[in-house]
Each structure stands twice: as C-alpha cells, then as structure tokens.
C-alpha cells in the first residue's frame, strides 16, 4: 500500500507537484500516467526520500519511507536504470544491494535468472549494457528483497516488445500475489494493458484517477456516420459534448442517447459502440493537452471527461 497525501513540491516559483493525493492498493497495478515533465518522477523520488517535499506526506506500508527499518525488503524501487556505476558488473551491483539488505548470495543468482540475464551478461560491466539490460538489472534490484511494494519509474523504457510482455506478466503476477505495484509511464498503451487503476497527472496536478474500467466508461461512445457535419449539428443541438477522432466522433453520452439523437436527426449511423480503448487514449491527450509541449489539434470540441 502506498499513500500519497496532499503532496506538493515547489522549486522557487515553479510547482512541480501540486497537491497530489492518491493511494496505490495491494493486489493491484496502479499506473501513474502523464506526459514528460508532469511530475511523475519527482513524486516518486519524494516517496522514497530522495527529494524533500515542500508539504504533504507519503507513506509506504503504513510508514514514512525513512522509518522503514530495511527498505529493500519492503519496497522495491527502480527510478532510473542508468543510474549505476558504469564500472561495476551487473552481478556486483546486485551483490552490493543484497549485502546491504542482509540477503544470502544465492538470491543474486535467483534474481539474475528471474530477469533473464545470463551469467556472462551479469559478468559484464554496466557501461556495456543496453538500456533494456539495464532495465532488467534495475528490476532485479527492485525484486531482490521480495518486497510487498514496487515503485517503478518508466520500467518499460528500452525494453523490446518481448521484454515489455515479460514485464507485464511479471508485474501482473506480482500484484495477483497481493503486492502493490506503482509504475509510471508517459505511454498510454503500455499502462493501459497492465494497470488496474490509473492516476493521470499533468503539470503537477492529478487530472483524473480511478479504476481503468471507470475511466474507460467515462470515455463515452464512439459513433461513425457518413454525414459527420450533420451529426455534429445534431449533437450540438442536443447539448452533448463530443470530439473528433480521426474517422469518428466520440460523444460524452451513452450509446442509447447518441442513437436517439442520430435517429431524430434522421442520420444513418455506420457504427455505434462504447469508446473503450480509443476513448482512453483520447482522454489522455485531452487531459494533458494544455500541459503538452506540442499542441494537439485533434479535438474539435472540448469535452470534460472523467
């Protein structure tokens, strides 16, 4: 269990994390989603005591991180896989961590096997590792103490598709055994396939949070027609919020209502269904549009989802 309560971090006049409150529960994978620079990493660094908070508190397993007697056995942390001494071998990095936690040496071999690093790879210096290998090593370090909580910052970065699949299964299994997993990403698809709960952050503020199912449901209805302008007019008349997807409209209303509006306007539909995944992606872009560096121009009308 991870609890973040009214967390704020400001640097001079800039507020990197702005009154963030959420809980990552045991048995679930919580996805921490936001564009680059949204405050994900800062929040995670505050959780593990590397950055002091301006105000607010964080708790892991019911305690402040600094009060954990042997944090490695309770919380697995991976903040930046590249933050390792380039001159150490992968095995040595794990050995040092295992020694700090007071674990037996064989745990290192078990972990190397678990993250599929071969003995020859483990004997190489980290300088010669690919980003994917560093991520595997970082995950091995996080899992070393068999912790109940995992805090992972962009763990899928640099992994190939098979690696991402492997990590997904690993984290799923971890949560299914009752572990708490918090992982951040700026890639929606990555999070969407694995997370049970979502916390979406933009410019330091939480813009949406809830279970994935809730957020998907609130993403409305996807509707297709050959007469887009006609349907758009009808929707405006019916006072419904909607937005343009590439080849369809997404409406903030359920399918039945949208169907009725189309019917009374005499517009033939080619497709009408809950927006599902497409909606979540659009929601992400929408929620973070103001905070995004590149202005997206994909939505015709504003729609306050979530």
């Amino acid at each position: 269990m991870i609890k973040v309560d009214s967390l704020t971090k400001s640097y001079g006049g800039f507020t990197a994390v702005d009154d963030v409150t959420f809980t990552a529960r045991p048995g679930r994978v919580t996805g921490f989603l936001g564009p680059n620079g949204a405050g994900k990493s800062t929040t995670m660094r505050i959780m593990v005591g590397l950055t002091p908070a301006t105000s607010g508190t964080t708790e892991v397993s019911g305690r402040r991180f600094a009060d954990l007697p042997n944090p490695g056995l309770e919380v697995g942390v991976l903040l930046d896989a590249s933050a390792q001494h380039a001159g150490r071998t992968g095995r040595e990095i794990l050995t040092v961590a295992a020694h700090t936690m007071g674990l037996p040496r064989r745990r290192v071999d078990e972990m190397l096997e678990r993250v599929s690093l071969t003995p020859s790879e483990a004997g190489r210096r980290v300088r010669n590792y690919s980003l994917g290998m560093r991520q595997r090593l970082g995950i091995a370090t996080a899992l070393l103490g068999d912790p109940e909580v995992l805090i992972l910052d962009e763990p899928a970065n640099g992994l190939d598709p098979a690696g991402i699949r492997w990590m997904r299964d690993l984290l799923r299994g971890y949560a299914d055994e009752g572990g708490t997993v918090l992982l951040s990403s700026h890639l929606l698809h990555e999070i969407e396939v694995i997370a049970d709960d979502l916390v979406v952050i933009g410019q330091g503020r939480i813009v949406a949070q809830g279970t994935k199912t809730e957020l998907l449901a609130s993403a409305g209805t996807l509707v297709r027609t050959r007469d887009v302008p006609g349907l758009a007019r009808a929707l405006v008349d019916a006072d419904l919020d909607f937005s343009n997807l590439t080849d369809a409209l997404r409406v903030d209303a359920d399918a039945e209502l949208v169907g009725q509006v189309a019917h009374s306007a005499g517009i033939a539909l080619t497709e009408l269904r809950p927006a599902d995944g497409a909606g979540l992606e659009e929601m992400f872009l929408e929620l973070t549009a103001d905070t995004q560096r590149d202005t997206q121009s994909i939505h015709g009308s504003e729609g306050a989802a979530a």
Binding site: P26, G27, N70, P71, D80, V96, H99, T100, T141, E177
Partner: protein, 272 residues
C-alpha cells in the same frame, strides 16, 4: 452522463500474509558495503592498488637517486608521503562524489534512507583505508631502507620516532579529511579533485609567497594558514602546545566548518 453500469472492480482480497518487521540494518553492514564499493570498480581497485605501487616506486627512486648518506628511514618516509598526499585524498573524494557523479546515490540512499549513516560509514572506510595505506607505505619504506642500506653497505638508520610516525599518519589523515570535506561540499568528482589541488598546492604556494613578502602575514600565518599548521605535523615531536592550538584553530575554519556546511547540503539536497 453515462448510464452504462460501471463495472465495479472487485478489490482483489489477496492480502499477503502479514510479515514480521525486518530488523534494522546494522551500522557494521553499511561500513562493509561501503568498503566493498571502494574496491569493486576497476578505477577504485587501481586507485587503492596505486597506494602500494607508488610506495614501491618512490622507495625505488630513493634507493636509486638519494646520496648514500641520505639512505635513512626519514628520507624514505618523507618521499613516500608525497604521492600519499595526492592519492589518499582522491580516494576519500571519490567515495563521496561517485554517489552523485555516477548517480549510484539513487540506489544507496534508497536502500539506506538515512544519508548520515552512509556518510559516517564512508568516513570510517576512508579513515581505515588511510591508516592501512600509511602502515603499508611505511612498511614498504622500511624494506627499502633495509635494501638501500645493504646496497650502500651501511647499517640501516631508523630515524623516525614513534611520535613523528604518528604525526605523519595524522598529517595524511587530515589530507584525507580535507578530500572528504571537499567531496561533501562539491558532490562532483572533477570539482572536488581540482578543489583539492587548489586548496593544497595553489593556496599553499600563495601563502608562502605572501608570508615571505608581507610581514603582517608572516605574523598572522600560524593562526590562519591551515597548510602551514598542518605542515608542522611532519615534525610532530617538536610541536609546542601553541602549535597544536594553531592546528586546531585553523583546522576548525578550514576543515570542520566547511564540512558542516557540506553535510547540511548533503542532507537537504535532492538526489537525482
């Protein structure tokens, strides 16, 4: 609004069995981890190995080049002291700064979320390594003295007293502490190493010149110049009570105070 039934997620009630609270990490373990970390990289290993290598090279140079009547233990001790004054502080500097420069602090300070404990462990390791290095270097010097005397064909001269010996070790330990202080203050390998050379060599030269040209500075020097007061340790047995007091006063301003400032910064800073 949506009338679709929001599928209420079943909160998976797979609570893990409650675990016993782990025992806290003992200080001795942190010290041994830090000791290991100072050996386990190629650069760290060679830095430590260079203590022995440089002691051997310096000893050989003394045997080769020193005039016959200078083949005494004091000559060996003085010669060995020069490379030690460079290498030992660098060891101390890197033990601190690599956590920031190599960014290993992200892991170190997360596994032990009390920076003070890690810094104390590093200090213990640095002091241990310093004393051990000096004993090793003096041992190599002693062998050199025996060998040199045999080559020249005289009886070996053992002209370092116990007090001098302790003074020389203290001299090097202070150098290490200066390195440690600069590491804590700068938290950057290159900056701290350059800082050490400025502090020890550039500043030392400037104060020497100043003292030889300005009367007022020459009078003030024993109370303001740490390099000067520290230098007295190379002849520790002839130090007066006033000399020790001067060492303490200058050490406070040049070592303890900046170390305290650096430590406050280390405890407050962000580790990225």
């Amino acid at each position: 609004m949506s009338t679709t039934t929001v599928e209420t997620d079943l909160v998976t009630a797979v609570a893990r069995p409650a675990r016993p609270t782990p025992a806290p990490i003992p200080m001795s373990r942190i010290v041994s981890v830090e000791l290991r970390k100072s050996f386990d990289t190629r650069s760290g290993f060679w830095l430590l190995a260079s203590v022995g290598i440089l002691a051997v090279l310096t000893t050989a140079a003394v045997i080769l080049f020193a005039p016959d009547d200078q083949i005494t233990y004091d000559t060996f001790g003085a010669a060995i002291g020069i490379p030690m004054a460079v290498i030992l502080p660098v060891i101390a500097i890197l033990s601190i700064t690599s956590e920031w420069s190599q960014r290993t602090g992200l892991t170190s300070f997360t596994l032990v979320p009390h920076r003070g404990r890690i810094i104390r462990a590093k200090l213990a390791v640095a002091l241990g390594v310093g004393v051990a290095s000096m004993l090793l270097a003096f041992g190599i010097g002693a062998l050199g003295n025996l060998l040199g005397a045999a080559i020249v064909g005289v009886d070996p001269v053992w002209d370092i007293t116990g007090g001098d010996f302790a003074g020389l070790i203290l001299f090097q330990i202070l150098n290490m502490l200066i390195g440690f202080m600069l590491g804590v203050l700068f938290r950057n390998s290159a900056g701290a190493i350059v800082g050490y050379f400025v502090y020890g060599f550039v500043l030392g030269t400037i104060t020497q010149v100043l003292a030889s040209t300005q009367d007022w500075f020459e009078r003030a020097q024993p109370w303001v110049d740490f390099n000067y007061t520290q230098g007295a340790l190379t002849d520790a047995t002839s130090m007066t009570g006033e000399n020790w007091l001067q060492l303490a006063v200058t050490g406070f301003f040049w070592l303890a105070l900046p170390l305290a400032i650096g430590l406050v910064a280390v405890f407050r800073s962000e580790v990225k």
